[in-house]
């Protein structure tokens, strides 16, 4: 088996990299893939929290690198899905504890046993970013329809393009608010795509459910009723090569009856 290594990055912090990683990873695992997630945000790890695995971590990526344990020992299995596991970041060390070569090496080893290796990248464009990108051949650039996030995404795209190993990158537009787009107070999906001239892998609507799901330590894809959850499921399907239409959120802001009708239509399609 030779898995795909996908780095999830954004440049700007707080746009939802870790949330996206947790949800895409869970969604891919739910679809039957063997998935491992690597948190490379050394010193500021959070992926364990979003997955609700914070109490199960014994070894971290630094322990693996410094040979205090075997790679397999450091992989924490998910509570619900045995196909999913996490290689946590060390909380007490900084970005220099792991090098690009070491991360590459870990990715190569994991490729043999897993379908997908998702690398959660730290914010910024410094060494942490360079490390995270080192082992990857694909990238997902997370951004929101805000100026600062789009600008940083553009910077990241520039850096990704300069990397020979990265064969493709796609854009994940997070925290989209259809109401604001409709009133022309927020940049639309089309605007962002045009400005960055990048392919889209998904559109995730702003969803308060994300907050509760984070609090519970359970990715929102597990909630099949939630809009964001379904959007993440679609992202996973697109990663797997399926051709899935992008959701149209605008209709849902209109009359209640229409909303219901739309939901029904969507549910029907997905089943």
């Amino acid at each position: 088996m030779s898995g795909r290594v996908i780095v999830i990055t954004s440049g700007k912090g707080g746009v939802g990299k870790t949330t996206a990683s947790a949800n895409i990873g869970t969604a891919l695992a739910k679809a039957g893939n063997k998935v491992v997630m690597i948190d490379t945000d050394l010193g500021l790890r959070n992926l364990d929290l979003l997955l609700g695995l914070e109490n199960r971590i014994v070894y971290t990526i630094v322990d693996v690198v410094e040979e205090r344990c075997k790679l397999k020992q450091a992989l924490v299995k998910d509570k619900k899905n045995p196909n999913l596991c996490l290689l946590a970041a060390a909380q007490t060390r900084d970005k220099s504890a792991v090098t690009e070569e070491q991360l590459k090496d870990i990715c190569e080893k994991l490729k043999k046993d897993y379908d997908f290796i998702l690398v959660d990248c730290p914010a910024g464009i410094e060494q942490g970013f360079q490390n995270a990108v080192a082992g990857a051949t694909e990238a997902i650039v997370v951004t929101t329809p805000e100026m600062s996030a789009v600008r940083d995404a553009d910077r990241i795209i520039g850096l990704l393009e300069a990397k020979e190993e990265i064969e493709s990158y796609r854009l994940l537009l997070n925290r989209v608010r259809p109401n604001l787009i409709k009133s022309k107070d927020m940049m639309s999906v089309e605007d962002v795509v045009e400005i960055l001239s990048a392919d889209l892998i998904g559109i995730i609507p702003e969803d308060t459910g994300i907050i509760t799901s984070t609090n519970k330590g359970e990715p929102i894809v597990n909630d099949e009723k939630s809009l964001a959850g379904r959007a993440y499921m679609n992202v996973a399907r697109r990663i797997m090569g399926e051709d899935v239409d992008f959701m149209n959120f605008e209709e849902e802001t209109s009359v209640v009856a229409k909303v219901k009708k739309f939901f029904k239509g969507l549910m029907g399609k997905e089943k």
Partner: protein, 200 residues
């Protein structure tokens, strides 16, 4: 009386719609600001340099074409590996041969004058010899613009000089008068592609 009411109503309505049109939405502001800032990020061109580049392009192109100078748009787009400078200029009218000759002669004259007057204090739109801040080559045209300017039979040394004045550090191709000789893309090809030219 009745007419007046209708006229008033009409004007009010018109005014209402105009107002709605004029007010730029927050997202448009965001898009425009982003485009500008990304262009700077991608090229290291400051707003001052961009404005200067714009000014020089307007000056250069208006020798050959009558155009809407205010509506000139500069954009940088990423096309795969290469960055493309997109220049859009609404052409009002093509100048005829005489006018072009005249404009070129004037430019030449102005250049000579400025050289003789004072060599130290060069005007803004003339690039002094020691200018090295612009390492980008600017070449851009709109379809019509390039066709017009290349179909004009004024292929003397004059235009080449006029263009050379703009890019004193670069050799200028004699065929199209706008590209560099060192550029590995051939001139004709460039003119066919016309709408886009690359900066590196």
């Amino acid at each position: 009386m009745k007419d007046n009411i209708f006229a008033e109503l009409y004007n009010k309505l018109l005014g209402f719609f105009r107002q709605a049109e004029q007010e730029e939405s927050a997202k448009d502001v965001a898009c425009n600001r982003l485009r500008v800032v990304l262009m700077q990020d991608r090229t290291n061109l400051t707003p001052q340099l961009l404005e200067r580049m714009r000014g020089e392009l307007v000056e250069l192109l208006s020798k050959y074409l009558e155009m809407d100078k205010e509506a000139l748009e500069l954009n940088l787009d990423q096309e795969g590996e290469q960055m493309a400078l997109m220049l859009s200029i609404p052409v009002i009218r093509a100048k005829d041969e005489e006018e072009i000759e005249k404009a070129l002669a004037e430019a030449e004259k102005a250049k000579e004058e400025s050289e003789t007057e004072d060599e130290e204090d060069a005007p803004d739109d003339e690039t002094p010899e020691d200018e090295t801040s612009e390492d980008e080559t600017e070449e851009a045209d709109k379809d019509e613009a390039s066709q017009e300017s290349t179909s004009e039979p004024v292929a003397d040394s004059q235009p080449a000089k006029a263009a050379a004045m703009k890019f004193p550090n670069k050799e200028i191709c004699g065929d199209c008068r706008e590209c560099e000789l060192s550029d590995d893309i051939e001139c004709e090809k460039k003119q066919q592609a016309a709408s886009k030219k690359t900066t590196k």
